[in-house]
Amino acid sequence: MSESFETILKHAGLNLPIDEINRLSPYFELYSETLKQLYEADLTAHEPANQFIADN
């Protein structure tokens, strides 16, 4: 997991020291696990609208 985390960080332009990667790795795993909720939910029919308020 930490290798994948490191790859994603580099893609984001972040070159973190190893102790920072080790500190954040457990949270990356937690966040990745939580993210699954959004991929398991049926969201396909919904446009990612930005107009939260206007049509109310």
């Binding site: 332009g13 973190l16 990356f28 919904h46 930005n50 308020i53």
Partner: protein, 463 residues
């Protein structure tokens, strides 16, 4: 005249000021003396504007004596969260990254409050960049006046502390994922997050552009209404500001709740994922009983998307925050506190597909709330899952724990936290009321009637 000037409400003080029975100078001096006496341990102010406040008080007094009374905020001493730009006064977001930043202009909200005659006592402590948790950055973190070993909630921590402790009559907060409502609930005061677009965010340091809201914090619902009245409204310099008439927020405050439909998402409140404390549930249930006694109709509602509302809000928040902070995270990471740096970095690990997914989730959340608000007038929940705890909490884990605040940042609906009771160990507990977009009047009405009937108005922390 009440003995304790610092525990008067804005509504009480403004009537006395308007009648020239209370001097803004005397009132401001009283607050500055109390800050001097207590804030050494409470740490709510990061910049005290003693000379400026006294000058503003003298001007207010002169104007009022000359017949130029500007309204209920005239001569009222307030505090300003240290992310609102203040002309010529350091505004840091409580971060070393902006340690020496001095804005050239006031934010729109601060400018409007100044025009209304409010007196700025100083800039208030907050969690770094409106997200960072217990880390100490350039300033210390404020303490909870009900128990100095407990945290006051954040990110508008100094605002919660200062209002509860009687170190200002009202304060400005900001709310991207609960940052007005959390410290309001933890400190036993009122915090209102208005509708997205209702209050200008120009000149306010952003956390996440699509979720950020500015709003008032005060001891009473009526006082938040008076504050909101002074700074709500369209601002052509803020592209997210909405051009809709501003109503009189105090007109219907005391209206009967008879027939008001209050929806309760009991499935979420009882969810083990939220893990709501039993004292909080007891306080909430007795609050509902009071609402029923006051004539409201309590109905159970189902909002399935609440299951992922916190995840979507946190993803959007830290992804947007990362895009704002990316350059500084690369060039000066050491100037961020550990918690805020970690959360922003994690925001940078999401893909565009993830962000898109969260926006689609937000769309469903909005649609479900919109449908429910055709059936009920107000949605009520606890304001928090647990009373204020110690300072050593894990912000990064907490951000992914389901909560009661996120849905209203995602939908932009107005939401208010009002004191509802106390835990068995004496910490405040709040109840949250949310309403239809731009119907702050309904939210303020239910909040005011609840607060004035609940019997907690005289419960102040002993300091």
């Amino acid at each position: 005249m009440p003995n304790s000037l610092h525990f008067m409400t804005i509504a009480e003080a403004s009537k006395l000021i308007a009648n020239k029975e209370l001097s803004p100078v005397t009132l401001t001096e009283s607050f500055l003396e109390r800050i001097e006496a207590l804030d050494g341990s409470l740490k709510s102010y990061v910049t005290l504007l003693k000379d400026e406040a006294m000058h503003e008080a003298l001007v207010a007094e002169k104007d009022i004596n000359n017949g130029d009374y500007k309204g209920p905020m005239h001569g009222i001493p307030i505090g300003v969260k240290d992310l609102y730009d203040t002309k010529g006064i350091r505004t840091t977001g409580q971060s070393k990254v902006l340690e020496n930043r001095v804005p050239l202009e006031d934010s729109t909200v601060v400018a409007k409050l100044k025009s209304a005659g409010a007196i700025t006592l100083g800039k208030l402590s907050m969690w770094e960049f409106a997200l960072g948790g217990p880390d100490t950055s350039i300033f210390e973190i404020s303490r909870n006046p009900w128990n100095l070993d407990r945290q006051p909630g954040g990110s508008s921590s100094g605002s919660g502390t200062a209002v509860a402790a009687g170190l200002c009559m009202g304060a400005l907060g900001s709310d991207t994922g609960g940052s007005i409502r959390i410290p309001a609930a933890f400190c036993g005061i009122v915090g209102l997050k208005p509708t997205y677009g209702r209050v200008s965010r120009r000149g306010v340091l952003p956390l996440a552009w699509s979720l950020d809201h500015c709003g008032p914090m005060a001891w009473t619902v009526e006082d938040t209404a008076l504050m909101l009245q002074a700074f709500a409204g369209h601002d052509h310099l803020d592209k997210t500001s909405v051009n809709i008439d501003v109503p009189d927020y105090t007109f219907n405050l005391a209206k009967s709740l008879k027939g008001l439909k209050v929806g309760i998402p009991r499935h979420y409140i009882n969810s083990p994922l939220v893990g709501t404390d039993s004292d909080v549930i007891d306080s909430f249930d007795s609050g509902l009983a009071l609402l029923a006694d006051l004539g409201a109709e309590i109905v159970e509602i189902e909002i399935p998307s609440l299951a992922y509302a916190t995840t979507a809000n946190t993803l959007i928040m830290i992804a947007e925050a990362f895009s704002y902070h990316r350059e500084n995270l690369i060039s000066q990471p050491e100037n961020y506190g550990d918690s805020v740096r970690g959360s922003f970095i994690l925001g940078g690990t999401y893909t565009s597909g993830d962000y898109q997914r969260a926006l689609r989730a937000r769309s469903i959340i909005r649609d479900e709330f919109k449908a429910i608000l055709k059936e009920v007038d107000i949605i009520a929940t606890p304001s928090q899952s647990a009373p204020a705890g110690p300072f050593n909490f894990d912000l990064l884990a907490l951000l992914m724990t389901p909560n009661y605040w996120a849905p209203y940042n995602e939908t932009g609906m107005p939401a208010i936290s009002v004191p509802s009771g106390f835990s068995s160990d004496g910490m405040p507990i709040g109840i949250q009321f949310a309403g239809r977009p731009f119907e702050e009047t309904t939210v303020l009405n239910v909040g005011h009637v609840f607060q004035t009937s609940r019997g907690l108005l005289d419960n102040r922390p002993i300091l």
